[in-house]
């Protein structure tokens, strides 16, 4: 019963940083048509030591426990992280963050929030 360990269920039932920002610098969404997962992420940035970093972040949408917990945990992980750092995050980092064993068909659920976040970051630097 590893996949639905306590921490993941907690993030699913009580998502952190869920909602919208009053003022955001970038926003991105994605929809997974195979399972109906929808997610939108908004970010606000600030300059710190000549580098752009995440000041605040919100996400909203609907999806399975894995995708929602992944979005919630990711939103905590990336606060004050530089945009370059976010672009370097990959599937492995997400699996480490979730600290659970996913079956192949569920990896997409776990990585959807990161894809959306990176899409938002890319939109800042056209």
């Amino acid at each position: 019963m590893d996949m639905y360990r306590e921490q993941i269920l907690d993030h699913y039932k009580h998502p952190r940083n869920f909602g919208t920002l009053k003022k955001s610098d970038a926003k991105a969404s994605a929809y997974n048509a195979t399972c109906g997962d929808k997610i939108t992420i908004e970010i606000q940035c600030q300059m710190m030591n000549a580098k752009c970093q995440i000041k605040d972040i919100r996400f909203n949408g609907e999806g399975c426990a894995i995708s929602m917990a992944s979005a919630s945990m990711l939103s905590e992980k990336v606060k004050e992280m530089t945009l370059d750092g976010i672009m370097k995050l990959n599937t492995e980092n997400i699996l480490e963050m979730l600290n659970t064993t996913l079956t192949p068909s569920r990896i997409k659920c776990a990585t959807l929030p990161l894809e959306v976040l990176q899409k938002a970051v890319v939109s800042l630097n056209p």
Binding site: M1, Y4, T34, C35, G36, G63, C64, I66, R106
Partner: protein, 409 residues
């Protein structure tokens, strides 16, 4: 009455243990399991008469040809076609429907014509017509549902007009299980416009209940082998002979020709002009064996068993708190398929937890996204039943769903 527990012994996959536990297979609407008789028949082709068909002047090729054509005859009898030539082998239901779209559709539909589908179609009977409508400038009309998940036959006269050339309709919904009264619908369509053809997607009907194409009065019927105990990669298009004769070929190449010259080609007759290239010979004979297996069970008994199982599942699941069953609860007009949601729990999570006890259900939109949008629901869980489904399988599902609820409470 059928004995599903005894039938289970014919299906080797049900003897398999995963993680030390048996399989509870509740996804037959996606694909059915295969009995030993079908597997042996496929094997027989590869071990006894593995030769190409039609042109071999030697014993085993003649044997293979006879087996291939014999399967066609069995399929024709199974659906009560007026002759074997009306049965065209395809890869699956989607290809059968595309065959009609590309041949009959391309040569008969023109700007301003209308085609009608229902909102409960599987993508395979929805997308080909939606795309054909875009290509040809047709009016693409969608027949919606009443609240109880059935089609309102009184609305048919608003859809079937002088301009309507085709009604493409499923016999049984692969999501909510609704059994459409095909015979009555075809009768009404022909009264409203005798020139409007009716194509029936019977992928969820032919495996589960008696089907008589002549009694239905339809023009085309499409279904897949793998959903009726047969192998994957083999499907069927049935069409009225006169229609098939008039239609241009589908794919060009081997087998579909009679004579080829540098400047021109004379095509083969029906059904061969629609079966270009070496076909899935083993798959076809396997489908023939599946037809034999189902015939021995008796399609009335197959239907009665599924109705009983669906009623049992309906009763047990509707008693559970937080479970919402989508569509009709009237099992007399419902195939062996049931879609549902659990309050506050995403279908993927439901399926994932059930999988830990090897309970196989399907989740998502079940290749019927327009229906889900129409019903204003997100993805759903779907359990579906067949000849080998027992009440114990349903009990296991109920127990599994209780476990899901416990984890998420």
């Amino acid at each position: 009455m059928m004995d599903a527990s005894a039938i289970q012994k014919d299906f080797p996959q049900l003897r398999r243990h995963v993680r030390g536990k048996p399989l509870i297979y509740l996804d037959s609407t996606a694909t059915s399991l295969k009995p030993t008789a079908v597997i042996n028949k496929i094997n027989e082709y590869y071990t006894k008469y593995s030769a190409n068909i039609f042109r071999g002047i030697y014993k085993i090729s003649e044997e293979a040809t006879a087996q291939y054509e014999d399967a066609r005859t069995r399929v024709a009898q199974f659906i009560h076609a007026s002759k074997p030539e009306e049965v065209v082998f395809t890869r699956n239901t989607s290809e059968a429907i595309n065959l009609v779209a590309y041949t009959w559709g391309r040569s008969n539909l023109k700007r301003g014509d209308a085609v009608v589908v229902t909102i409960m179609e599987h993508h395979s009977n929805f997308v080909p017509w939606q795309q054909m409508a875009k290509e040809k400038g047709l009016e693409f009309r969608v027949w919606g549902l009443d609240k109880d998940g059935t089609l309102n036959l009184k609305k048919l006269d608003t859809f079937i007009t002088r301009r309507t050339k085709l009604l493409a309709i499923t016999a049984v919904s692969n999501v909510i299980g609704t059994i459409n009264p095909v015979k009555t619908i075809v009768g009404t369509v022909k009264k409203l416009n005798p020139n409007c053809l009716v194509l029936v997607d019977a992928a969820q009907a032919v495996p589960h209940m008696p089907v008589d194409v002549q009694d239905w009065g339809a023009d085309f019927l499409a279904f897949s082998g793998h959903k009726m105990l047969g192998p994957t990669g083999i499907g069927v298009l049935w069409g009225r002979f006169e229609l098939l004769e008039e239609m241009p070929p589908f794919l060009f190449g081997g087998d579909m020709i009679r004579e080829v010259h540098v400047g021109e080609t004379i095509f083969n007759g029906v059904p061969h002009k629609f079966e270009a290239g070496t076909p899935h010979i083993a798959g076809t004979t396997g489908l023939g064996a599946a037809v034999d297996y189902l015939t021995a069970l008796g399609m009335d008994d197959v239907r009665a068993h599924e109705e009983a199982i669906t009623e049992y599942a309906m009763k047990n699941l509707s008693d559970m708190k937080g479970i919402r069953i989508i569509g009709s609860h009237d099992t007399a007009h419902c195939g062996g398929v049931m879609s549902f949601t659990m309050d506050g729990i995403h279908p993927h999570d439901v399926a994932q937890i059930l999988d830990q006890d090897n309970i196989c259900i399907r989740v998502g939109f079940h290749c019927a996204q327009p229906l889900h949008e129409y019903l204003k629901i997100g993805p759903t869980c779907r359990a579906s039943f067949y000849v080998y489904t027992t009440k114990e399988d349903i009990d296991a599902l109920v127990k599994g769903l209780e476990k899901v609820r416990k984890i998420f409470q």
